[in-house]
Symmetry: C2
Subunit: 126 residues, 2 copies
DNA sequence: ACAAGTACTTACCCCAAAGTGTGTATCCAT
DNA sequence: ATGGATACACACTTTGGGGTAAGTACTTGT
């Protein structure tokens, strides 16, 4: 899955950051390009792979799978496959995935606030 | 400032994501590699450029400046320079920067919770 | 017999973020 | 006059995430 060079400075720094900073830890888990979208759609409930794909048309299959695998191994979502053919695979949020929803909600709230404020100008905080 | 190719698919997708998803908007602003560290140190109050540099030894000057410029133009922090020599430049959080602190706090909280949970095993959410 | 649907997998390319290294103007202390 | 401190700027390289495109195994529908 696209090998990573553990020796590279960037990986060393990532380790430093993960040790020192819990915020970086969280960013690692939800920071993928389309991960917020996936979470958003899984809030509605259990979804099949194909449903997610159709719900997010701009995402490519490779990246979708990639994100799903990462989020699964990160414990954010749960994959369940029925041993039938054609395959029947579903995804849903785990406990940790559910617990992160308020955080995401807070991020969204700040964003909408900030977008409104930006129409007027930023002023200094004394 | 490293020019960006507006035509690339990734930039197109970024625009799509920013329009559709406020979470992505927030991730854009705090998602930089060392931005959480910068914010963390500015919580203590006004800091000079050199103080920040010494507070985060692993960061290079280029990336530090880069992040500071971005965060300034994003309205998260405020730069103030005294017209003296040698230069005297300080950075501090703006209103928007202060408002995002609870969000960051929530992210940190989720992270520490999740790290604890990960020592035991993840179970499905019914 | 052939296409369509399912859930992936693999090889390859592109590019922007991060890292490396050097340069700059001015002042002060030694 | 030489070096250090200040706050950057600029050119260059690396790297890893994301995009493109094609293939796979197996079944059902026509």
């Amino acid at each position: 899955m696209s090998l990573i060079k553990q020796s590279s400075t960037i990986q060393q720094n990532k380790k430093i950051a993960l040790n020192l900073c819990p915020v970086t830890y969280t960013l690692e888990k939800i920071g993928g390009y389309w991960k917020p979208f996936i979470i958003y759609h899984l809030v509605e409930g259990v979804k099949r792979y194909g449903e997610l794909k159709r719900a997010i048309p701009a995402i490519t299959e490779k990246v979708l799978i990639q994100h799903l695998k990462q989020m699964e191994s990160d414990g954010l979502i749960i994959r369940e496959a029925k041993a039938v053919v054609p395959p029947f695979v579903t995804y849903r949020l785990s406990v940790a995935g559910l617990k992160i929803l308020p955080v995401i909600q807070a991020m969204a709230q700040w964003a909408t606030d900030d977008m409104e404020q930006s129409t007027s100008d930023h002023l200094a905080a004394d």
